[in-house]
Amino acid sequence: MSLYKYSFWDVLLHSFSAEVWAQVVPAIGETLYMVIVSSVFVLIFGIILGLVLVVTADDGLTPCSPIHNVLGVIINCFRSLPQVIIIIVMLPVARALIGKSYGSNACILSLIASCVPFFARLVESSLLELDKGKIEAAKAMGSGNARILFRIMVPESLPSLIRAFTNAVIIVISMTALAGSFGAGGIGYIAVTYGYTRYNHDLLFATIVVLIVMVQLIQMLGNGISYMILRKRHLI
C-alpha cells in the first residue's frame, strides 16, 4: 500500500496486517542473526582493543606509546569513515575473505570494521573514568598487572561497560539497516526495496516499528542490568 493511493491511517493499519508481517518476520530473523553475530565480535574485539589502549597509555599499567599510538591512529582511521563508506570499502574485502560481497556474512564484516573501533573507544573511556585510587590501592597491596586489570578495573567498571556495549549494539542495529541497502538482507533491505523503490509504505512502517522495538528492548535490557549491578553494590 502506497501513501500516494491510500490515506496515512489505512497504510499504518495495514502495516500491522499478516500479509506485511509474513515478509517482515523472516527479515527480522536475518537482522537478528547479523546483529547477534556482529555484537559478539564487537564485544570481544572491542574489549581487547579498549584494554590494550588503556594499559599501554602513558599513565597505564605498562606504558608503551608505540603500541598505544599506532592502535589509536588505526582506530581513528576507521572511526573517521562514515558507515556507508566502510560498507563500500569492505565489499572487496568480503569478496576476498568469504567469496561474495553480498549477504549477511559480508555485512557482518563491515559491521565489525565499523563498530569494533567505536566500542573500543567506549571501553577505553569507561575504564579511564575509574578512580585511580583503586588501582593504586591494588598496586600498594602488591598485585600484578593482570590481576589489577581483570579483578579490579573490569569488574569495577562493569556497569559503565554494560552501558557502553548497549550503545554499541544499537549502533550495530542501525548499521545493519543501512547495510540492507547494499544487499545484506534483513530489515534494511525490506525498507529500501519495498518501502523506497516500490512505494510499499506499509512495509516501511512495519520496519520502523521493528527497529524502534528492537532498540527500546536493547536499551531497557542494558540499562536494567547496569542498574541492578549498581543497586547491588549500593552505589545508587
Binding site: 585510587g133 593504586e136 590501592a137 597491596m141
Partner: protein, 254 residues
C-alpha cells in the same frame, strides 16, 4: 626502641610539569623506629603524600635510599617489589575500597595474592574484620558503609597480610572528628597489639598529637624539624612548626 627500622636517606623526587621540572622532595632524611607511630605534618603541597608514596614506590624516587628493616626498597625489581609491598599496608584518604566486592572480599583480596589457601584466607579475613569491629558487615558492599566503617575495612585490608609497616596517607582527613578519633584509637590499639610501625601523614596537627610518638614537620619538600611530639609542641624550633602550633592553639582557644 632505638633500632632504626625504616631509614630514608637523601630522597629526591621531581615531577615534570609542562616541560619544567618541579622538585617536590628536596633531600629527605628521617628514621622511624620499630613499633612507633611516626607522624609527618605539613600544609597542602608540602610533599607529604609524595613522600609516603615513595616508601612503597607508588611514586618512583629519583634518587636516595629507603631501607625497611635493612632491605633497600629502592633497589627491588618489579616482582620483588610486589612481594615487599605485601609487607607494607597502606590506607588512603578516599579509602579506595573495591565497590565490586563485599567487605569480606575486599579483605580477602590481598590474602589471595599470597597464594594462601581459601580456607586460611577466609579465616584470616574474618579475624581481621573482627579486629576492626565489622564482623557483622562482612557481606555488605562498601557502598552501604559510613566513612568510618569504610576506613576500618581499609585498615583490615591493609593489615590482612600481617605487614610490618602501615602507611597512612591522610586516612582520617575525610572523616568527622568523632570518627577520626575512633579510627586513630584503632590504629593505636593495633600498633600496641601487633607491634606495627606506622607512618602517618596528615595536615591535622591534633591527629599527630593524639596518635604519634615522634613527628616531623614538612615544608616545601624538606623536613624542617623532627622530634618527639612533646618537644615540638612545647618548643617548636622551625617557623613552620611554630606556625602550625599557633593555628592549632588558635582553634582550641576560640
Amino acid at each position: 626502641m632505638s633500632e632504626n627500622f625504616i631509614e630514608v636517606k637523601d630522597l629526591h623526587k621531581s615531577f615534570r610539569v609542562k616541560k619544567e621540572s618541579l622538585e617536590v622532595l628536596k633531600g629527605i632524611d628521617f628514621t622511624v623506629q620499630k613499633g612507633e607511630i611516626f607522624g609527618i605534618v605539613g600544609f597542602s603541597g608540602a610533599g607529604k603524600s609524595t613522600l609516603v608514596r615513595c616508601i612503597n614506590r607508588l611514586e618512583e624516587p629519583d634518587s636516595g635510599k629507603i631501607l625497611i628493616d635493612g632491605r633497600d626498597v629502592t633497589a627491588l625489581n618489579k616482582n620483588e617489589l610486589n612481594t615487599e609491598r605485601r609487607k607494607i599496608g597502606m590506607i588512603f584518604q578516599q579509602f579506595n575500597l573495591f565497590d565490586s566486592m563485599t567487605v569480606r572480599q575486599n579483605v580477602l583480596y590481598p590474602l589471595k595474592l599470597t597464594g594462601m589457601s581459601n580456607r586460611d584466607a577466609e579465616k584470616k579475613a574474618d579475624e581481621m574484620l573482627s579486629l576492626v569491629g565489622l564482623s557483622e558487615k562482612s557481606n555488605a558492599y562498601p557502598g552501604e558503609l559510613s566513612g568510618g566503617q569504610k576506613q576500618r575495612v581499609g585498615i583490615a585490608r591493609a593489615l590482612a597480610n600481617d605487614p610490618e609497616v602501615l602507611l597512612s596517607d591522610e586516612a582520617t582527613s575525610a572523616l568527622d572528628p568523632q570518627t577520626t578519633l575512633s579510627v586513630l584509637d584503632l590504629i593505636k590499639e593495633i600498633n600496641k597489639k601487633l607491634g606495627l610501625t606506622v607512618i602517618l601523614i596528615t595536615h591535622e596537627l591534633e591527629v599527630i598529637r593524639y596518635a604519634c610518638d615522634r613527628m616531623a614537620v614538612m615544608e616545601n619538600g624538606r623536613l624542617v624539624e623532627t622530634g618527639t611530639v612533646k618537644e615540638i609542641f612545647e618548643t617548636p624550633k622551625s617557623e613552620t612548626a611554630a606556625n602550625f602550633i599557633n593555628v592549632f592553639n588558635k582553634f582550641r582557644s576560640e
